[in-house]
Amino acid sequence: MYKLLLCWRYLRTRYIALASIVSVMLGVAVMIIVNSVMQGFTSEMQNRIHGIISDVVFEAKSLDGFPNAEWHEERIRQVVGDQIAGMTPIVSVPAMLYYQWRNTTMACQVQLVGIDEKTQSQVSDFSRYLQHAANRQAASFKLRDGGYDVRDHQAGPEAPERVQMQDAGWPHRRKMAELNAWQARMDAARRPAASSPAPPAVARSPLSQKSSAPAGKLGAGGSAPAPQVDPFAGHPVAAGSKAGSDFDPAKEQYTGVVLGIAMVSCRSSDGQEWFRALPGDDVTLATATVAQPPKLTSDKFTIVDLYESKMSEYDANFVFMPIGKLQELRCMYNPTTGVRNVNAIAIKVKPGVNIDEVRDKLQKAFDPDGYFYSVSTWRDKQGPLLAAVRMETAILNILLFLIIAVAGFGILAIFYMIVVEKTRDIGILKSLGASRSGVMGIFLSYGLSLGLVGSGVGLAAGLLFVRYINQIAKLLGWITGRPVFDPKIYYFYKIPAVVVPTTVAWIVAGALCIAVAASILPARRAAKLHPVEALRYE
């Protein structure tokens, strides 16, 4: 009883102990905050990866893929049919993307993904990340007549407006077509007047000039003179199915593609986004055919939407297009039978199903040796990334736990002081019959209560901090004059934070253990004090 009473009184009267309470508090709060933010980032990322990749991917090892997706889907259903919620065939191939921006041809390396827009939404969150509300309902490769999101639908109201998206879609396309037509007329008007025509213009054949005219109208910036920038003018395929004088860009579109948003946008430090291409602009995609030796093949496409998963790796790499068009482009079909090839089948399993088990079953049923097919889960696909995040979290936790350990040394030092200060009281207690273990108990429970108070306050502070982390980040940014959470770097406007109760419990338990462990030494010293010497101490 006296232990509790004294420990309570010491807690209330020894203000020096506040220092150790504060250090425990800071340690606990920081650990909770960091863990929550790390967990927030991790789960956000996992959700996105998972949403994009789908649960299990059944894919061919060869880039040529495997024929007859329907047969494979049937087989898959036979093997793990009761566990499957949806399937969709996929063709995935590296490609080059070209588009016009101001006066330049921008080129980037992309992963071209042919999807079946009807079944794709069964297996992944593809449509959820599109910019047009109707496309989110049912993805379509038809250009929409305006109505694209001006605000990021995944972010809160604090996200800045994307002004350029206002007239994306057909209005933008019509405007650009008009501009290009005007440009072409200007060029045509200027050409005869030129005193000495430039040699390339003379060298150009009438045929190529004719076929390149519509291609030249791709330019998003609109000011680019057409002929020089079309790299595929001479290529038979590049002329495109609709190439010809009868193609009116103001009324017609090429096959639709969905571009990852990071390919065509950049973000300034105030969060404002700028787009180099919008839905309605035309792009050229070039890839290789499946034939050996592979031939370059390319075609023109119209951007119908932008894809924003907020995983920069995907947003900067993925271009989605209708699977049939891609199969044609790459000649992925048997000309005699008409059976088409696909690269992969993405599988969505029913909730609660162990995806590793599904993977193993499929691998065993199709190709136990893994020569032609490989089956992997979304975790396997992003294994190194997820493992890296896990390791980062672990290392951070170890480092941060050292903070609490430092707090423990603070407690140790302060307790030693208190024991010295309380020497006489210890003598008194012993003269009243308090046992060694009783005296030790006073200081151990004192340490425990310091730990309890410190971690309790730290818990509250940490949770509050996590709750208001964005406001705090904003405040800090305002004070220091530079944004703490720069939206230029991250795809999130807000700092994601997820509080995991078990982690919090572990942190608090660890802090308590350290507080008690740090008080063992001073408590032992107190217990060992000789009562006579303690009483003589004046």
């Binding site: 009883m1 009473l5 004294l6 008194i428 009243l432 019959g433 009483l535």
Partner: protein, 296 residues
């Protein structure tokens, strides 16, 4: 106050070396007396019931002393020098006696009291309490003895500064009881502590901290604390040493009354002759021995 059987187990460790019962009251115990060999081992071997080992409450060993020392030696080290404090001190105190020990500073008065109170162990010699040897008891038994049988008063009062007067008085009970049993008996403990404080004239100072009390008040609180566990022996180390004469007299009056009314044995160390004169008996300590006796 009920003493739980748990604590009585501690008595199993007590030796049964009985001081010579043949001696007359007031006489010095024979210096050649030695406890019989094997006394300690006999206790554990015979495994007597705990009941038999409880010292008789308020009843002294017939013809013997309540507390007595035989040939006590104690020295302290000060750096490399060994300073002898007690050199063969032999002393006996009877049940209900008020003994004053006087002597110069450094004559070993306080050391004697600490040894009697089992706060310290002698280098040589024996201490007997109620017929049992207590100087070599294990720590738990000594703690128990200090908590239940001995009350101690110090020159500097030694109240715990964080606790109120009432809590200071209750401290021995808090030590002897676990949390639950203390809380169960809280009401009766409180009542007893308040009654005790009222008898020493501190009924109006229950909620005050020691630093808000005067020296005399603190010493009264210390006396109340020493009495709360209903001890058989009160050890007072210069109880008036820090008080003015008038307050000192009041304290002595309280002790005197306790001694008379409750037949409480008191051993008081003092250097003040006037205070010592009020005791039943006085012994003078010099050079680590009893130098003079005043039987009166």
């Amino acid at each position: 106050m009920n003493k739980s059987p748990r604590y009585n187990n501690a008595n199993m460790f007590w030796s049964t070396g009985v001081p010579p019962a043949t001696e007359k009251a007031g006489e010095t115990p024979a210096l050649h007396w030695k406890p019989r060999e094997g006394d300690r081992s006999m206790v554990s071997a015979n495994a007597r019931s705990a009941r038999e080992l409880i010292p008789p409450k308020n009843g002294s060993v017939p013809g013997g002393y309540q507390i007595s020392t035989v040939d006590l030696y104690k020295s302290y080290r000060k750096g490399a020098v060994e300073v002898p404090v007690l050199c063969g001190l032999t002393l006996g105190v009877r049940q209900g006696e008020f003994l004053a020990v006087v002597g110069q500073s450094g004559s070993g008065k306080s050391t004697l009291l600490h040894l009697l109170g089992t706060l310290d162990a002698p280098d040589r010699g024996q201490i007997h309490y109620d017929g049992r040897r207590i100087d070599k008891l294990p720590a738990a038994a000594r703690d128990h003895l200090r908590n239940r049988q001995f009350g101690m008063i110090f020159q500097f009062y030694h109240l715990l500064p964080e606790l109120t007067t009432l809590e200071n008085v209750l401290a021995p009970l808090m030590i002897s009881h676990g949390v639950l049993s203390y809380l169960r008996h809280r009401g009766e403990h409180r009542a007893r502590a308040e009654a005790l404080l009222a008898t020493v004239g501190l009924g109006h100072r229950l909620k005050h901290r020691p630093r808000e009390l005067s020296g005399g008040e603190m010493q009264r609180a210390a006396i109340a604390r020493a009495l709360i566990a209903q001890p058989d022996l009160l050890l007072a180390d210069e109880p008036t040493g820090n008080l003015d004469q008038h307050t000192g007299q009041e304290i002595i009056k309280i002790l005197r009354t306790l001694n008379r009314q409750q037949n409480l044995t008191i051993v008081m160390v003092t250097h003040d002759r006037a205070i010592a004169d009020q005791a039943d008996r006085m012994v003078r300590l010099a050079n680590g021995r009893i130098e003079a006796r005043d039987e009166r």
